[in-house]
C-alpha cells in the first residue's frame, strides 16, 4: 500500500487523505463498541463520561452496575455475602436466570442445527444431489426472510403445532410448543441452520472427494470413512458453523418475544425489557460482558479458519 514512485504530488496528498478516511471509518466501526466498556464502570447513573471519570479519579468508577446484575430479582439482596446469598443469586437473580436460559437454549439449538445442517451440507455438496439450487435456496431462506415475518408465522404454528394436520382433513388437538423450551429451541434451530449450511458447504468446496474413494478402496466402511477421513478434515468448518449457530441463538430476540413464555426469558429478551422500559447503566454492564464474550468467540473462529486452511492445504490468499 505504498505510494508508487511515479505518483504526482496531488496523488501523494490523496493517498494520505485516503488513509485518514479509512482510519475514520474504522473508528466509526469500532468506537461504539469500545465506548460502552468504560461507561459501564460509571459510578453515576449517567450514560456519559463524568468529570471524575475524565480525570481518572477512582471515585468516578465503580462496580455497582455489575453488582446490580446479581442483585436484581434476589429475595434478600442486602444480606451478608455468604453461601446463602450466592445461592439466592443463583436461584432468583433475573440476569442469572436469563443467562442460564440463553445457555441452555443456545447449546441445544446449536447441537440440533449443527447435526442437521452438517448432514444436509454433505448431501448438498455431492454432485448427484437433485434440485440442489432450489433446496439450497429454501434452506438459506430463514436468514433472508424478515425476522418479524418468521416470528409471526412461528407464533401461530407453535401455539398449536397440530393445526398443520388440518390440511389433511384431520382435527387433532395436541399441546402447545409456544412457552416451552422445546419451542424456543426449535425456532432457534431454524434461524441457525443457514449459517451452518453456509460455513460447512464452504469447507466442503475445498474437500478432495478422491480421499473418500481412497478410503473405500482400502476397505473402510462408509461409516469409518466418514469418521476417520471426512470428519477430521471438515471439523473446523463444522465448529465455526456451530459457533455461528450459537451466536445466532444467543443474540436472538424477536422469536423469543413471540414464542417464549415467562420461564424462557433470555439475555437479549431481558436487555430488550431493560432498554424499552427504563434504561440504566446495568445494560452497559451486560453489553460489556457480551462484547468480551464475542471477542472470545471471534478469536476462536479466526484460529479455526487458519487451521482449516492449513490442513486443507489452501494457502491464505
Amino acid at each position: 500500500m505504498a505510494v508508487p514512485t511515479y505518483a504526482s504530488p496531488l496523488e501523494r496528498i490523496w493517498h494520505y487523505a485516503y488513509i485518514a478516511i479509512c482510519a475514520a471509518i474504522f473508528f466509526f466501526l469500532i468506537a461504539p463498541i469500545v465506548v460502552i466498556i468504560p461507561l459501564s464502570f460509571n459510578a453515576e447513573p449517567y450514560f456519559t463520561f463524568t468529570d471524575k471519570m475524565l480525570s481518572f479519579d477512582p471515585e468516578g468508577y465503580s462496580m455497582r452496575w455489575y453488582d446490580s446484575l446479581l442483585t436484581f430479582g434476589m429475595t434478600a439482596p442486602d444480606g451478608p455475602r455468604d453461601l446463602s446469598w450466592w445461592g439466592d443469586a443463583w436461584a432468583n437473580a433475573k440476569w442469572v436466570q436469563a443467562a442460564k436460559n440463553s445457555i441452555i437454549i443456545g447449546i441445544f439449538s446449536t447441537i440440533l442445527a449443527t447435526v442437521l445442517g452438517t448432514l444436509a451440507a454433505l448431501g448438498l455438496s455431492r454432485p448427484e444431489m437433485p434440485f440442489r439450487r432450489a433446496i439450497m435456496a429454501i434452506l438459506i431462506s430463514p436468514m433472508i426472510v424478515p425476522l418479524i415475518i418468521t416470528a409471526t408465522g412461528m407464533f401461530f404454528f407453535y401455539s398449536n403445532p397440530c393445526e398443520l394436520l388440518t390440511l389433511f382433513g384431520l382435527d387433532p388437538q395436541c399441546g402447545r410448543l409456544a412457552g416451552t423450551y422445546l419451542g424456543v429451541i426449535f425456532a432457534h434451530v431454524t434461524l441457525g441452520i443457514p449459517f451452518v449450511i453456509i460455513t460447512v458447504t464452504a469447507t466442503l468446496v475445498g474437500f478432495d472427494q478422491s480421499l473418500n474413494r481412497a478410503a473405500a478402496s482400502l476397505g473402510a466402511s462408509p461409516r469409518r470413512t466418514f469418521f476417520k477421513v471426512t470428519m477430521p478434515l471438515i471439523l473446523p468448518g463444522v465448529i465455526s458453523g456451530a459457533l455461528f449457530a450459537f451466536v445466532t441463538s444467543f443474540d436472538e430476540v424477536v422469536a423469543v418475544l413471540f414464542i417464549a413464555g415467562p420461564d424462557q426469558q433470555t439475555i437479549p429478551r431481558q436487555m430488550w425489557n431493560g432498554i424499552r422500559e427504563q434504561i440504566s447503566p446495568a445494560i452497559l454492564a451486560v453489553a460489556t460482558l457480551l462484547v468480551v464474550f464475542s471477542i472470545a468467540l471471534l478469536t476462536t473462529v479466526e484460529l479455526l479458519r487458519r487451521r482449516s486452511e492449513r490442513i486443507r492445504g489452501v494457502t491464505p490468499h
Binding site: 505518483a7 496523488e11 478516511i21 474504522f26 466501526l29 469500532i30 461504539p32 463498541i33 465506548v35 456519559t48 463520561f49 442437521l116 448432514l119 444436509a120 448431501g123 448438498l124 455431492r126 448427484e128 444431489m129 439450487r133 433446496i135 439450497m136 435456496a137 434452506l139 431462506s141 430463514p142 433472508i144 426472510v145 424478515p146 425476522l147 418479524i148 415475518i149 418468521t150 409471526t152 408465522g153 401461530f156 404454528f157 393445526e163 398443520l164 431454524t190 441452520i193 453456509i198 460455513t199 458447504t201 473405500a216 455461528f244 443474540d251 413471540f258 430488550w272 432498554i275 434504561i279 453489553a287 457480551l290 462484547v291 464475542s294 468467540l297 471471534l298 479466526e302 491464505p316 490468499h317
Partner: protein, 432 residues
C-alpha cells in the same frame, strides 16, 4: 481388449471384435442401465442426507409462514357467525337496499351470535373495515338477547340509528364471504365505498403507502451509505499485505460478531441528548448547551445505527472480490497513460461490480425487513414496515392486516432474493 476395472460398481467388458460394441457390465447387463441405476442410487443417498433438515424447515418454517399469510385473504369472523345474513348477501347483487328478509336475517343472526358469545368476533371483523363499529355490535347484541319483535328494521334502528347506514351494509356485504381482498386494499390505503368501488381512504388515514415508501427509501439510503463507507475499507484490506489486513479485518469482524442489541444500545448511549457525542460537541464549542442535537428516536438514529450494523455485510463480499483483482491491470492502464482516476474508474471499479452487487443486495434485503433497531432507536419517524406488522400482531390484534402487510413485504424480499440467487448464487454467500 481386457479392460481393467475402472469402477468398482461396473466392471466394463466390451465385445472383442470391435464391431458396434454394446457395452455391458461383467454380469452381462447393459452398461447404460447399470449406470442409471447406480446414479439414481447416488441421487437417493444424497437426498436422504438433506431430507431430515428439509422436512424440518418445511414444517416449522415454510408451512407456518404460508398458513400465516392465508389469514391475509381469509377471515371468517363475520361469515361463520352470521350465516343467514351472509346467505342473503350471496343471493342479492351489490348495492341492493336491505329488504324485510335481510333485516329478519340480521336480527336472527345477531341474537344467535350474542347467545353464542361470538358477537365480539363479528364486531371486530367489521371494525377492521369501518372503525368504531365494534361497540355497535356488542351493545346491540346485549339488547337483542332480551328479545326482539318484528318489524325488525324499526326495532334495530331504534336500538341504534347506525344500522341504517348504507356504508355499514356495504362493509357487511364484503365481509360476508370468508375470502376477501380488503386487507390487501387496506395495506395500500384503499377501501371500498358504498357501491363496492375501490377508492382511496381519507387523507388523514393514509399510512401504509408512506410507510412502504419510507422503508424502501431508507433501505436504499442505508445501502448507499454502507457502500460509501465500505468501499474504501474493503479496498484497503484487499491491497494491504496479508498480515496487516488480517489484523485490520478483526476491526470489521468484531462488530459483526457483537450482539445486535449491544450495538443498538451503544448508539443510544452515544447519540442521546445527554450522550457522549453531544457532550463532545458542546465541549468543543460547536453547539451551545441549549441546542443539543436530536440524533436519536428519529430517522437519523435509525439510519446511523443500521448503517453501522449492516456495514460488515457490504465489506465482506466486496473484500473477497477485490482480493482476486490482479493489480497489474491498473499498473498497465497507468503505463498506457491513464491518470489514476481514469485507471480506477475504467479498469479497477468495473472489476469490483460483482462484489458490490452481492453486498448491496444483501444489505438492502436485510434492511427492508429490519425490526429491532428501528423499534428501539427509531422514535415515530424512523419506524419501518416491520414495526407496523409487529404492532398489528401485538397491540391492535388485527392479524389479517399484519398478514397482508407481511405478504407484501415478503413478496418484495423474495423477488430480491430470487434476483440475488440468479446474479450471485446463494452458495457464494460468505460469512467472514
Amino acid at each position: 481388449m481386457a479392460n481393467a476395472a475402472l469402477d468398482p460398481h461396473a466392471a466394463i467388458a466390451t465385445t472383442a471384435s470391435g464391431a458396434p460394441a454394446r457395452l455391458t457390465t461383467a454380469d452381462g447387463k447393459p452398461l447404460a442401465r447399470a449406470l442409471a441405476r447406480s446414479q439414481s442410487k447416488a441421487r437417493r443417498r444424497a437426498f436422504l442426507l438433506v431430507a431430515p433438515l428439509l422436512a424440518f424447515i418445511l414444517i416449522t418454517f415454510v408451512v407456518p409462514i404460508g398458513q400465516m399469510l392465508q389469514r391475509s385473504f381469509h377471515n371468517d369472523g363475520f361469515s361463520a357467525n352470521m350465516p343467514q345474513v351472509s346467505a342473503w348477501f350471496a343471493e342479492t347483487p351489490a348495492g341492493t337496499v336491505p329488504d324485510d328478509a335481510a333485516w329478519a336475517a340480521l336480527a336472527a343472526d345477531l341474537t344467535a351470535s350474542a347467545e353464542a358469545r361470538s358477537i365480539g368476533v363479528v364486531g371486530t371483523r367489521i371494525n377492521y373495515d369501518m372503525a368504531g363499529t365494534r361497540s355497535l355490535f356488542t351493545s346491540t347484541g346485549r339488547k337483542v338477547r332480551r328479545g326482539i319483535e318484528p318489524p325488525y328494521r324499526e326495532a334495530l334502528l331504534e336500538i341504534d340509528e347506525e344500522w341504517g347506514d348504507p356504508q355499514l351494509w356495504s362493509v357487511m356485504r364484503s365481509a360476508s364471504t370468508a375470502v376477501t381482498s380488503n386487507f390487501y386494499l387496506a395495506s395500500v390505503d384503499r377501501t371500498r365505498n358504498e357501491m363496492g368501488e375501490i377508492v382511496q381512504v381519507p387523507e388523514n388515514r393514509r399510512i401504509y403507502l408512506t410507510l412502504f415508501w419510507r422503508t424502501f427509501w431508507l433501505s436504499g439510503l442505508i445501502t448507499a451509505l454502507t457502500f460509501v463507507l465500505g468501499f474504501p475499507i474493503a479496498h484497503l484490506l484487499a491491497t494491504l499485505p496479508m498480515r496487516k489486513s488480517n489484523l485490520l479485518m478483526i476491526l470489521v469482524l468484531l462488530p459483526f460478531w457483537t450482539s445486535l442489541l449491544v450495538r443498538t444500545t451503544s448508539w443510544m448511549v452515544l447519540l442521546q441528548q445527554q450522550g457522549v457525542i453531544n457532550d463532545i460537541l458542546v465541549w468543543l464549542g460547536i453547539i451551545g448547551d441549549g441546542q443539543r442535537l436530536q440524533m436519536i428516536y428519529n430517522q437519523t438514529g435509525t439510519i446511523i445505527a443500521m448503517t453501522h450494523i449492516l456495514l460488515p455485510f457490504m465489506i465482506l463480499p466486496l473484500y473477497s472480490v477485490m482480493r482476486t483483482i490482479n493489480p497489474s491491470y491498473v499498473r498497465a492502464a497507468r503505463s498506457l497513460g491513464a491518470t489514476s482516476w481514469t485507471a480506477f474508474r475504467r479498469v479497477y471499479f468495473p472489476q469490483t461490480l460483482p462484489g458490490l452487487g452481492a453486498g448491496a443486495m444483501l444489505v438492502f434485503i436485510l434492511a427492508v425487513g429490519y425490526y429491532i433497531t428501528p423499534a428501539l432507536v427509531g422514535g415515530s419517524s424512523g419506524q419501518l414496515i416491520s414495526n407496523m406488522i409487529a404492532m398489528h400482531m401485538t397491540d391492535t390484534l388485527n392479524w389479517s392486516m399484519a398478514a397482508a402487510l407481511a405478504a407484501l413485504l415478503l413478496g418484495a424480499v423474495l423477488v430480491l432474493y430470487w434476483l440475488y440467487d440468479r446474479l450471485v448464487g446463494v452458495d457464494n454467500l460468505k460469512l467472514g
